[in-house]
């Protein structure tokens, strides 16, 4: 059997068999889907160790770019600007595909025993693309720009708990108001690209320590980059002579561009066409399980959702397997009503999975004493792809349990300002965060700006703070597990599924690794891959 599997993995690597076919046939041999995927991943990893080639132009076709984009890291919020950021800039640290910290501008990090003071030792002799050497002062200025209350930076929330920052010799030192064992993960945030003088005078100048320099900047159309000869880490990154990021927002145009060889990789392949696309001979569909989740959120401080029996009724009524099958076409996994999955470092797999049960839904609905008036769920495909269909499936199974769920369709336009975090019950999407602490701090802390379920529990906040200060992983895991159970049983979050990142990749692209941190190898495909034909 083992020989057969070996043969099959190499078939997949050669592009003669799709990943899904492999998983299917492996299942026939008694191998679970998880094990099969792991085998493929290790094979892909071995393939990734082929010697990189230098030269050529890597072209990335990406959705998520608009003519309104800038190169200012503080304002980066979508995929194309993210690809751009990593082409020309770098952060102090990065989170690697295994979830471990990779050192970039910092060469080491040390925490004080109470996890309140963090010392980042900054590398020396690394030139910015303007020729000037990067210094700890530049790091300090960068962090100051993003932590300034006047700032419109997307990283403002991350910088909140910082009491003080200073430079001491080669070190950049951060003092926290309260302990946080995960600070390095926060400092890996993509907004915090190190810029000369912190980007104070010209944040959109695209000057950084990255492998490429910006040559052509046409927002919403294309961004072209040229390799830097003085890049410090050319052993590991920046193999192509040039990189082009092309904005292809239309899903069909994107797929066609990959098929016709206009680009080497595309993001956001529609799950509906992924298996068809995977059959094409010159490319493969690469999906990686991420932390992103498609959800329905209820405000637990607003009637009728202030009734936990009703929330439980809705949680039991939703058919998770059906949603993963029909909405994600298998490119995803079922959720358990708390925002953490196995892609997180301290995930507790022993928390029981909530099953679809109309019986239990009926029981809890009866216990809730709801008056039978319609429960309005607001939804738009802007919330997540397929949200309207997902809501219809939810409605059907809810009605089968006697719950009068009704759907109100909202326009895509203005969904995030008019519906999400405003209306009491709606569809939404979360991209996840690298660590549990950050996910919970962003959306489940009583004081969180984006507390979109109105989850305000002092005991939960206390546990979060306790976990933050805890440097012993076993103890932290226990605390997180308890918090997960609490959210799962009482929260306003109905989390039926985690979505995979589905990318289309040309066979000409070497070095592809599926990265749970984000689509397109966490938006670093252009700087980490190479062209086999070069």
């Amino acid at each position: 059997m083992n020989e057969q599997l070996q043969h099959m993995t190499s078939e997949v690597a050669k592009g003669r068999m799709t990943r899904r076919e492999f998983v299917g046939r492996a299942a026939a041999l008694g191998v679970t889907a998880v094990a099969a995927n792991a085998m493929l991943a290790s094979h892909a990893h071995a393939a990734a160790h082929e010697a990189p080639k230098r030269g050529g132009t890597i072209k990335i076709g990406s959705s998520g770019g608009e003519s309104t984009n800038t190169q200012d890291p503080a304002l980066t919020a979508s995929e194309v600007p993210l690809n751009n950021l990593y082409a020309w800039g770098e952060t102090l640290l990065e989170v690697d595909p295994e979830g471990k910290i990779e050192y970039r501008m910092a060469e080491s990090v040390e925490a004080s025993a109470d996890a309140k003071q963090w010392v980042f030792k900054i590398r020396k002799g690394i030139p910015f693309s303007n020729g000037k050497d990067m210094t700890p002062e530049d790091v300090l200025k960068t962090m100051q720009r993003h932590s300034n209350e006047e700032s419109k930076s997307g990283a403002l929330g991350i910088m909140k708990g910082i009491a003080g920052m200073k430079v001491d010799g080669d070190n950049f030192i951060v003092d926290l108001e309260s302990a946080n064992a995960d600070l390095p993960y926060l400092m890996a945030d993509y907004h915090l690209i190190i810029q000369p003088d912190g980007g104070m005078d010209n944040p959109g100048a695209a000057i950084g320590t990255g492998a490429y320099t910006l040559e052509i900047d046409e927002p919403g159309v294309r961004h072209a980059f040229k390799r830097r000869d003085d890049f410090w880490d050319s052993e590991n990154r920046g193999f192509a002579d040039a990189v082009e990021v092309l904005v292809l927002n239309d899903a069909t145009a994107r797929t066609a561009a990959l098929q016709s060889g206009q680009v080497h990789a595309i993001n956001r392949v529609d799950p509906k066409v992924a298996s068809l696309l995977d059959r094409a001979p010159n490319l493969s569909v690469q999906s990686s399980a991420g932390r992103g989740h498609y959800v329905f959120i209820a405000h637990i401080d607003t009637a009728p959702f202030d009734n936990n029996e009703l929330r439980l009724a809705l949680k039991y009524a939703i058919n998770r397997e059906e949603l993963v099958d029909k909405i994600l076409r298998g490119y995803g996994s079922i959720g358990n009503d708390f925002p953490i999955n196995a892609a997180y470092p301290l995930f507790d797999a022993s928390i029981p999975q909530r099953e679809h049960s109309l019986e239990k839904a009926k029981e809890h609905y009866a216990a809730s004493g709801h008056d039978g008036s319609p429960i309005i769920l607001r939804v738009s495909d802007g919330a997540f792809p397929g949200a309207v269909d997902a809501a219809s499936l939810f409605q059907q199974s809810a009605q089968a349990a006697g719950i009068p769920l009704e759907i109100k369709r909202e326009p895509n336009d203005g969904y995030w300002s008019e519906v999400w975090n405003v209306q009491p019950f709606c569809a939404s999407y979360w991209g996840g965060r690298p660590v549990q602490d950050q996910m919970y701090t962003t959306a489940y802390l009583s004081t969180a700006d984006w507390n979109d379920t109105r989850w305000k529990r002092p005991e939960f906040d206390a546990m979060l703070n306790q976990a933050k200060a805890e440097l012993d992983d076993a103890k932290r895991k226990e605390i997180y597990s308890e918090m997960g159970m609490m959210l799962r049983n009482e929260g306003g979050l109905i989390l039926p599924m985690f979505n995979d990142f589905v990318n289309g990749v040309s066979n000409d692209l070497g070095g592809w690794i599926n990265d749970p941190n984000g689509e397109m190898m966490s938006n670093q495909a252009a700087i980490k891959c190479w062209l086999k034909s070069a």
Partner: protein, 318 residues
């Protein structure tokens, strides 16, 4: 004043009034959209603090009427302002986009206008016989299919299967003319199919209308061939309605190509407008709207003026 000159002056003045009215409508339209630009820029990652900061910076706290007149004053001085979202000069970024849209529209027009008129004349020549029916059937079919569908079908067969032309029309300035034409081949084909039917049928109808006239009968009795009759007597008299429909379609080629630009990810005005509408970037939306309105009004004005000039009763007043 000469009556023709008077009519033309009146027509131009009307155009200016229309343009002003359009600018008011565009402004009202953008103001009543839900959400604001600060919210849209920051998206899901907005915090109340960063929202307030951005709003103040962008001047969104001023009353809308004041913002409108401030903008109008700048526009009259030729300053379209800067985009709220990325601080770029609007006139500059718009210029490149407008050039691209015009380039696409130009080649679509160069192919579709002569083709439509030729097919229209051919249909008249073979009226109610199979060439006429075939031309009508093909053009009516192509106009009945949504343009994005034609686009996708061409993209799949011509772009992906045959590989004759790129499926994404990503044109840029470093390309040679030949490369550019190859790049825009598919969108031009779709646009041609979309506008062909309308112009062809109007040409056919206008000439048939003239063909009913007594002087055509005279020409026929004179022994002229049918081609000669159409060329010398019918076509010149049908110019006004034909120019009208041609101008209308040219306007469509500039203004109405939003869908095609999005489908083929062509970097023209349409896509630029769509991006900024969804971000509530009001100055850009207004600038685009104003240019679109101006294109429509100017082309219609030209059509009207040609009709005026083509009318002998006005050219030779008693």
């Amino acid at each position: 004043m000469h009556p023709v000159l008077k009519l033309i002056t009146q027509r131009v003045a009307l155009g200016v009034v229309l343009l002003f009215a359009a600018s008011v409508l565009i402004f009202v339209g953008t103001t009543i959209l839900p959400g604001d630009v600060a919210q849209s820029i920051l998206g899901q990652s907005a915090t109340p603090q960063s929202l307030a900061n951005l709003r103040a910076e962008l001047g969104l706290n001023d009353p809308p009427v004041a913002r409108y007149f401030a903008w109008l004053g700048d526009v009259l001085q030729g300053d379209l302002g800067t985009a709220l979202t990325n601080g770029r000069d609007i006139a500059e970024s718009l210029g490149g986009r407008l050039k691209n849209t015009m380039f696409l529209a130009f080649w679509a027009a160069v192919i579709s206008v002569p083709l439509a008129i030729f097919l229209g004349l051919l249909a008249v020549r073979f009226r109610d016989r199979w060439p006429d029916k075939l031309i009508s059937a093909i053009t009516l079919t192509s106009i009945s299919i949504p343009e994005f569908l034609i686009g996708y079908v061409l993209m799949f067969f011509v772009g992906v299967k045959l590989g004759w032309a790129p499926s994404a029309a990503l044109i840029n300035d470093t390309m040679s003319l030949g490369q550019k034409l190859n790049t825009i081949a598919l969108p031009v084909a779709v646009l041609t199919l979309v506008v062909l039917a309308h112009m062809m049928r109007m040409t056919r109808a206008a000439i048939l209308n003239v063909m009913q006239s007594a002087y055509i009968e005279t020409a026929e009795l004179k022994g002229l061939s049918i081609f000669e009759v159409i060329r010398r007597h019918a076509f010149p008299n049908a110019i006004a309605p034909i120019v009208n429909v041609v101008m209308l379609n040219l306007a469509y080629l500039v203004v109405g190509v939003v869908v095609i630009e999005v489908v083929f990810t062509y970097p023209g005005m349409g896509q630029y407008l769509v991006d900024h509408v969804s971000k509530r970037d009001v100055p850009v939306v207004q600038a685009c709207g104003l240019i679109f309105a101006a294109v429509y009004i100017v082309l219609n004005m030209i059509a009207d003026i040609v009709s005026i000039l083509a009318n002998p009763r006005l050219r030779h007043p008693k």
